[in-house]
Amino acid sequence: MTGIAQTTAFSLHNIIKDYTSREGTAVRALDSVSLDAEQGRITCLVGPTGSGKSTILRIISGIEEADSGSAQISGRKPHEFIGKLGYLTQHHTLLPWMRIRDNIGLPLDIVGQNRETQGEKVARICELLGLQGTESLYPYELSGGMQQRAAIGRLLAGGAPYWLMDEPFSALDEKTRQRLQRLLLQLVRENSISALFVTHSIDEAVFLADRVVILSAGPGRVIETFDIAVSHPRDRLSNEYGRNMERIRRKIESVLSE
């Protein structure tokens, strides 16, 4: 890590969030969750089901509000970042009635950019992401991996510097997933993107993250945060990689057996 002080991209401070269950009782989803994610880095949230990982993303994106505590992006309120956030989910939300070309260009269309610059930009993105030839297809005509690629393309087109990613690769096969992980690392570096990445795969976290936040379930709490200071691309077969995997696995296991 460099000696220059990193600025914070996403920060949560003492977030509490309750849900009302069907029986009417309050269920705590997040219990004073605090975390910081640095600018230009990937921060992974790892934890079992029910640890409120997705809720954290929804609160940071401003779609949902916390019951108490504060959520900030770059020191400002989330709702000021409408149009400057990219959101990627496990099931892509490409609009099924639009061709890939129009889906990728959608953020540009919404801000009113003219057709010509839009077309150029979309073509460039398709080339970069290996989506040439799919421009005039519809999302359902593409494989899962290609659909996620197109969804990433749409984030790039939007030019948002903050990406919230909710298990975007978990429905893909191993090979496709690894390919997209490498692609993500490349894009984050080239476009200085700050990403908050939710996953339940320890391997994915160790491969991608500069910082890993481990959460416990029911209610969601931060049990440990640590940095992985290994340069990218990381070698999955190295000893250090194995040690980091081990470290997280132990931590999660100790929480689960409590």
Binding site: I82, G83, G86, H91, T93, P96, W97, I110
Partner: protein, 217 residues
Amino acid sequence: MMTLIRLTLGFGLGIITAVPLGLWAGQSRVVDRIFYPVVQMARSINPIVLLPIATVIFGLSSIASVMSGEMEAWKHDVWDQVQLAMILILWWGAFFPVFLSTTHGVRTVRRAYIDTVMIMGASKVQIFQKVIFPHALPFIVNGTRIGMGVTWLVLIAAEIFPGTRSGIGYMLCTACKTSDYQYTFAAILVIGVTGLIMDAVIHRIELAVSHWQAAEK
């Protein structure tokens, strides 16, 4: 053909009113609550039932009588054959299927799609243009197809009623009365084939706008 002119007018009017109202009711809970009882009650009333009362209200007035008064109406030979009572019941037949599918189409949009474009900074108008309307379109066309079937049935029946001097239903009725059965069967065949052709055309449109739905669960 008088029958087709009547159909186009009555049915067209049905769609023109049902689509905007349906889009509106689909997006607003309040509007929907107000419309619901009225629509459900009205749609249970077979439009043919309304023809006698509509004839009492409008008499034999036609579009021509609205255009240039009752006395001069006969001068417009085509428009004088498009009776207001008939337009009303055709509208009645077309409106409800189209209205109901439109509201359904609006209401079943996945929340995730709306969230996605909202995060991109889309305005209300853009959300409508990019998400709500394209999602509702196949439902609208499907409603149109059902409505067309209903309207076609209603129209032929209405043409058999007194006060009409043209149209396929009138021809059929007249042929039957004069025991010209060849002509009668020909008319029945024409009704059937026309129904088939119209449905096939709308079905084509439906396929073109709904291809993406197969991928939606």
